[in-house]
Symmetry: C2
Subunit: 371 residues, 2 copies
């Protein structure tokens, strides 16, 4: 008999920042960039009341599915899209669709820590693949996992973006071995400089399932994300949804926001705000923690610090918490037990003053943990 | 090796009514009773913007959990409550918590059809228990399932309410054999006459997990329900949620609706509207289908018709669909293959004129299927 499902599920981190602490831990949105959606809500709750307060179509509102399809890739249409309660929910449905007990899943080392317990809860084990400054090192793939999970744009936690050559090599490998690629891309628009290569979905077509979300595009509280896959996969995943369709009210509010063409200006604000937060944190870390090495991220929410070998990142995170700063120990980002000398700092949620003060306290925690 | 999870999942019915058809199928809300929530949304999106557009606490907003606790039973507090994306999502989390592959679950015959594929998807099999006009026949329980699932108030699909004696007997049996009871009670406030016995949760305490929802209390589109259980079960189920917390915007809108004390008047409107729809459908069925027998429901959304033995309810439903009326064949409500001579008609969604015309067409379909 297999272990009870619930007991296989590793505990996840608390999502909320401890009261009063400076929050460098979760990828919360900066409060100042949360948009005013009162007009969108009013239209949704009056003109569309019979839709927004009723049960929704299980796969999502058709107009929103069509928009998500076009956003993901011009060749896609509404039936390639399933609306979900955020990207993590989309990943869960992909796991339900694809995984059998005992399967393997390939992930980068490190990888997005919230994906680990979700995949693990389906009884799968992990193959970890190293990455360098070009992203996932495709030459290190040698086995045939059920799927390869990756965050190719402004990778979480490292901030690395996969090069076009690596993307193409990954797709070639996956095609040759009939492996599904699961591309998680929440940060694609949170870009401060440069350009991005085409998405894996654009390059790989039906062999790639892309996960998207409005959490980083508009606001996490809307709880609307999606999966882009083949129509038959989408139809199957829709049957696996037990929420009777994601919230039609927030779906319609998003459609009204898009119809008013507010997204481009909002994305500019997002890029400006988080870019400026990134600059502030990079400067603070350079000043306060000269022993730490890191790649300056060109997008996303995070700085991934490598501390000197032998440093206990778990102890640094614990000391920082005692100092009133929430950060995440790097060890949480390895699917299998891995190196411990990293920490991840999110610059998305804090003010500039909090970034200065918080990094100062993390540096103190680092020195304390050294002793 | 067990079968792939996705392949064990029986297909569920489409949630939407076919275009143009009279909808007696799903338990959709009557459009005329959907409340005006524009004021609630405006407050939620201005005063509470930093909460409602941000990630939410995984277990739900503390104030809403406290309200749900008090509503469920005066002895409960917030830590007994997990906010979910509707009651079906709560049932899924209960299954994740409790079920191992190969377990058995006891349900009434018939039972709520959407619960069947959810429970089945965890690899459980069913023990069906008969019911009479007093509800689930506890004397027929002889095995020890992992849990007993029931809808004791205005049962779906039969409309039967469990008597106090049966409730007590069920709790005694479950306690004696250490079986969890899962009480699904969406219709408790949709009451047209008489009073209800105390809930199983009130009678059975920690031995009962109750599932609740605002879908029937306010509006399905809010996608907010809950599970009431012991604090340790709630903490475990919160970890199993992959949605990063249910939508904080609709949670806050509900809190504002409650704070303005609008719920009592709204429940009165709900009872008046659905009570009048019930009367209209009972009259229509009595007039058009004298061959059908049924118990006049004192609450809920449904009339459960027993057609003469030998009638093929699947054929009646297919003929009715061809006649432009969506109903659900009774066979869908049996977890194991069962009798086929029933159909379920929902009176919640249709207008009085549609009820008259729809029942006339169902009667035609019944006569056609007889031939």
């Amino acid at each position: 008999m297999y272990a009870r499902r619930a007991e296989r599920l590793a505990p996840t981190l608390a999502a909320s920042v401890p009261a009063g602490a400076i929050g460098f831990d979760s990828g919360h949105a900066f409060p100042g960039v949360l948009p005013d959606l009162t007009r969108e809500a009013e239209i949704a709750l009056t003109r569309y009341r019979a839709e927004t307060l009723q049960y929704a179509p299980r796969a999502g509102l058709p107009d929103l599915r069509a928009w998500m399809a076009g956003y993901t890739h011009p060749g896609l249409s509404a039936e390639h899209i399933l609306v979900t309660n955020g990207a993590k929910h989309a990943l869960e449905l992909v796991c339900r669709l694809l995984l059998d007990e005992g399967d393997t899943v390939a992930v980068t080392a490190p990888t997005y820590f919230s994906a680990i317990p979700i995949i693990k809860s389906f009884g799968a084990t992990f193959i970890e693949i190293p990455q360098d400054d070009q992203g996932l090192d495709v030459s290190m793939l040698s086995k045939t996992p059920k799927f390869i999970y990756n965050v190719p744009d402004f990778h979480n936690p490292t901030g690395i973006t996969m090069s076009i050559e690596r993307r193409q090599a990954l797709i070639d490998y996956a095609k040759r071995h009939s492996i599904v690629i699961v591309e998680d891309s929440p940060y694609r628009e949170v870009r401060f400089e440069g350009t991005l290569p085409p998405s894996l979905k654009a390059l790989g077509g039906d062999g790639v399932i892309q996960l998207g979300t409005f959490s980083k595009l508009m606001a996490p509280g809307l709880r609307i994300g999606w999966a882009a896959a083949t129509p038959s996969m989408i139809a199957r995943m829709a049957q696996l949804k037990t929420d009777a369709g994601s919230c039609p009210l927030t779906q319609r509010m998003i459609l009204e926001f898009l119809a008013a063409d507010r997204l481009p200006a909002h994305i500019q604000r997002v890029q400006g705000t988080y870019g400026s937060n990134r600059d502030r944190m990079v400067a603070a870390v350079t000043r306060e923690m000269p022993q730490a090495t890191f790649a300056r991220p060109k997008g996303g929410y995070y700085v991934w610090l490598a501390l000197p070998e032998g440093t206990d990142g778990d102890a640094v995170a614990a000391c920082a918490a005692a100092n009133g700063v929430a950060i995440i120990a790097g060890s949480k980002f390895f699917a299998n037990p891995g190196p411990k000398h990293h920490v991840r700092l999110a610059f998305s949620h804090a003010t500039h003053e909090e970034i200065d003060e918080g990094v100062r306290r993390v540096a103190e925690a680092f020195r304390a943990a050294q002793q």
